[in-house]
């Protein structure tokens, strides 16, 4: 395995993340709230509580707007919309670095966090697969001008697979889904997709369906 570095996780100056007066990053506070982390600080700190309350208000407002616009829509639609809005908020706070779209030199970009999310979702369309860390390395560079491979990235994706899966076949399917999504949904040139199987798990109830992206 080639030595790769993780995508940047620390907010860069152009990010919208901010430190609350208590010293905690807003994005971390929101993450902890969404994951229902058992953190005494979050319960006692007025700044963190206010930040969480703000996010909660946004969620309620989105739900309300959705209900106003389509009162007869199924409740699941509102939940999906709310989740997507929260995803956007989270990705704005921690966008990662820009990755090239299209041909080299087009000056078109997509932020790393957005691309990684789409690629993880693609992997999880394969039955029983759960995606973990998705690192995007590159672009690789070094090619002649106009060579699309010169602007291509390398994707390293960790996945959990069903315990009874035939791994080479499953890895190929995941790789194909990831490549297909990178090309057809994003338009990002990909030089290689490394699939790392980090665990094999028994699917609950024997379910074989992948998640909906």
């Amino acid at each position: 395995m080639t030595a790769h570095t993780d995508p940047p996780n620390d907010p860069s100056p152009q990010d919208d993340d901010e430190h609350l007066p208590c010293g905690r990053l807003l994005s971390r506070v929101w993450d902890a709230w969404e994951q229902q982390a058992d953190d005494p600080h979050l319960r006692s700190c007025p700044h963190c509580r206010q930040a969480v309350h703000g996010l909660d208000q946004l969620g309620s407002a989105v739900l309300g707007l959705r209900e106003e616009e389509a009162a007869d829509a199924p409740a699941t639609d509102a939940a999906v919309l709310t989740r997507r809005v929260m995803d956007v908020v989270r990705l704005e706070l921690r966008p990662g670095r820009p990755l090239p779209l299209g041909e080299p030199g087009e000056d078109l970009w997509i932020t790393e966090a957005v691309a990684a999310r789409a690629l993880r979702a693609a992997a999880e369309t394969v039955g029983g697969v759960r995606a973990g860390s998705c690192r995007i390395v590159g672009p690789l560079g070094g090619g002649p001008a106009g060579d699309r491979a010169a602007g291509a990235v390398e994707i390293v994706l960790d996945v959990h697979t069903p315990a009874d899966a035939f791994l080479p076949h499953l890895a190929d399917r995941v790789r194909d889904r990831v490549r297909d999504t990178a090309d057809r949904e994003l338009g990002m040139a990909v030089a290689a997709v490394d699939i790392r199987i980090t665990d094999r798990v028994d699917p609950p109830g024997g379910g074989k369906e992948g998640r909906t992206p």
Partner: protein, 140 residues
């Protein structure tokens, strides 16, 4: 191997060269802001564009902590626009958008670029072609 940067420096990494609309020189501030606003509205009409950055996080924080009554318009700092010091060089435009998931991101970005180029060419036919950078910062 380290994470190499893109071949062409991304504008966010050289943001000192591009002044946001709010930081434009005072004498030209009104016209500059008007141009940014016009470009922003054109971009928002591009098929596949959901909205401009700044998006929800900034709106949430401003709504909760810094209410700004009387300004019903959406913020336009998702569009940055600059030109040479003498005001005659090519426009340098940086656009950040949240795109619709059902659209192909690169196609949306290309459409945004083409829209900005057409808009500026129509308003400033004497200027050289602008350099337009588009970044997709979210998918919904």
């Amino acid at each position: 191997m380290t994470s190499d940067g893109p071949h062409v420096p991304h504008p966010a990494r050289a943001s000192s060269r591009i002044a946001p609309a709010a930081q434009a020189p005072a004498p030209a501030q009104a016209s500059h802001a008007s141009l940014v606003e016009a470009v922003a509205r054109a971009v928002e009409d591009v098929p596949g564009v959901a909205f401009l950055k700044p998006g929800l996080a900034a709106r949430l924080r401003s709504a909760l902590s810094r209410p700004d009554p009387g300004t019903g318009r959406a913020p336009t700092s998702g569009v940055r626009l600059a030109t040479g010091a003498d005001g005659t060089g090519p426009w340098r435009v940086d656009v950040q958008v949240v795109a619709l998931r059902r659209a192909r991101s690169v196609d949306v970005a290309r459409a945004v670029r083409a829209t900005v180029e057409r808009h500026l060419a129509a308003r400033f036919p004497e200027r050289p072609a602008p350099r337009v950078t588009v970044t997709v910062t979210g998918l919904v």
